[in-house]
Symmetry: C2
Subunit: 307 residues, 2 copies
């Protein structure tokens, strides 16, 4: 039962041949969530072997080009691949208008259903529940309306352990009864304890995505204790002034948020194109929060089950 | 004095990692014309070493995504690179509305001037004259309004030959007089013949771009005798029926147009993504028009001066 993230584009405003603009895919039990969709995302999705048909939800953090200019092409390509599956899009309401104008001009009729969730209709307390995960939105402070996303795995149903099945060979009606929380008796009439019947439950995994944002301690409350946090780090710590002016974060900002929120692991990205090498950015973040990785196009991380 | 073409994207509807959607750059005396701008064009422009600031004109053949979804990102990047130079865009009038909606949403103010030439305002007989070239448009038959482009080099001013300067060492007022078509006399009072004074003139070079189009013999009149013709060849000859249905061309269609128009050289491209190898497409075209090349991302051709 996968919970893994693949970085499709790790760059910022100006895409480079080896660093496309923002896009990431979160795989939860083989259901894929595409988070942001910068120009060329569909090319890198293909390059990194992502099955297009498994993408069931697309989240767009905000309407700066480096976060959504790849979306129209991807929606077109879904069409050309014969997609019939519904697609959820969570984004600012203006995106719908943009897509309408574009698809009107191209005269391409999208043949699958797009379920558009305008972010303004979602309150912070709400979360959208999908089959295997929930998504909550929270506000980021950037130059235009921008949202962060908290994605949580939904705990799987209880599963019978193999050793219990081998030892007691329950029949179908007994299994149904067990799954309805009834006790199961062994041959001597004793109740079999539930930790002998079930695989122990595991802690549902979680991922938070913060891009783009000025340094903002109020974010900590939304993302407390997540297993994995992606926080933009457009600039080195020595560019703090420019970061503040452009409403972006430095390495230190990202790492400080990770530390205060007690996250499991921090990923940084969205590097300014002035940094061709990210070694020093990673070192800066690690000084504050050691369990940090600097992502790149094609970077992949699995969050294993913790029982 | 360059006249060269670089193919930025040689693919069609679905971009692939090694075959982006349509885009080409024509270099005329180091002034660049970008023709179509599929998704990711800015990434390949960078990969192939094209100087962004030399792009002074962008032509968009039609508003299918694989011909313009890379434009918004490129215009943004021009901004970020600090462009101040005017940019000409020749395209269907709907493109202006699309760009307005997009840049309104992104709240990015374009800081250089875009001179938009809506195609409907250009008649076939007209051509737009720029410093070193003229551009004429002609109608293509495709599923939505689509235009072909004919780009002609403007003949350079007459140039004095080095041997004449060395032999007669004319002073500045004499040079001015010669360039104003006055005769020049040698020491014995004889008129020096003009073929001794000037570098012989050369034939202005020309390029025609046809993408996307159903097979259409009426195009021949617009592109007669061009040095270089790019004609889409989405399909192999055995897919003629599908080509007609989708209003595209086969290899044979492209080569037949080249032959009838007596062009110098034919380039084919815009291959359906079903063709990972284009060898057989090239062979088919060459059967009809031997001087054909099958382009790929990064393909480059120079048209030398012919005096």
């Amino acid at each position: 039962m996968k919970f893994s993230l693949t970085v499709i584009g790790s760059g910022s405003g100006t895409p480079l041949p080896n660093r496309y603009s923002s896009a990431q895919v979160l795989n939860i039990h083989e259901r894929f969530i595409l988070i942001d969709c910068g120009e060329g995302a569909q090319i890198n999705l293909r390059r990194f072997g992502i099955n297009f048909n498994r993408i069931e939800t697309i989240l767009i953090s905000h309407l700066h080009g480096d976060h959504f200019f790849g979306l129209p092409g991807l929606l077109n390509t879904f069409n050309q691949l014969g997609r019939t599956k519904d697609l959820n899009i969570i984004a600012h309401k203006k995106l719908k208008n943009i897509l309408d104008v574009l698809f009107n001009a191209t005269a391409n009729e999208i043949k699958y259903k797009i379920i558009f969730h305008p972010v303004e209709d979602l309150s912070i307390e709400d979360s959208l529940a999908f089959n295997k995960y929930t998504i909550s939105c929270f506000p980021l402070k950037h130059r235009i309306p921008t949202i962060g996303f908290l994605i949580k795995e939904i705990e799987s149903r209880k599963k019978l352990s193999k050793s219990f099945i081998n030892e007691y060979t329950p029949n179908i009606s007994e299994i149904k009864s067990i799954l309805n929380d009834n006790p199961f008796f062994d041959n001597s009439g004793e109740i079999v304890p539930s930790d002998k019947i079930f695989i122990p439950p595991y802690k549902p995994r979680s991922f938070a995505y913060i891009s783009d944002s000025i340094f903002d301690l109020s974010l900590v409350d939304y993302i407390k204790n997540v297993d994995l946090l992606y926080h933009e780090a457009t600039y080195s710590k020595i560019m703090k002034k420019l970061a503040t002016q452009t409403m972006h974060s430095t390495t230190i900002d990202a790492a400080t948020i990770a530390l205060k929120a007690n996250v499991g692991k921090l990923l940084i990205g969205h590097y300014s194109s002035r940094y061709r090498d990210t070694t020093s950015l990673l070192s800066e973040a690690k000084e504050i929060f050691p369990n940090t990785d600097a992502v790149f196009d094609g970077f992949k991380i699995d969050i294993p089950i913790d029982r």
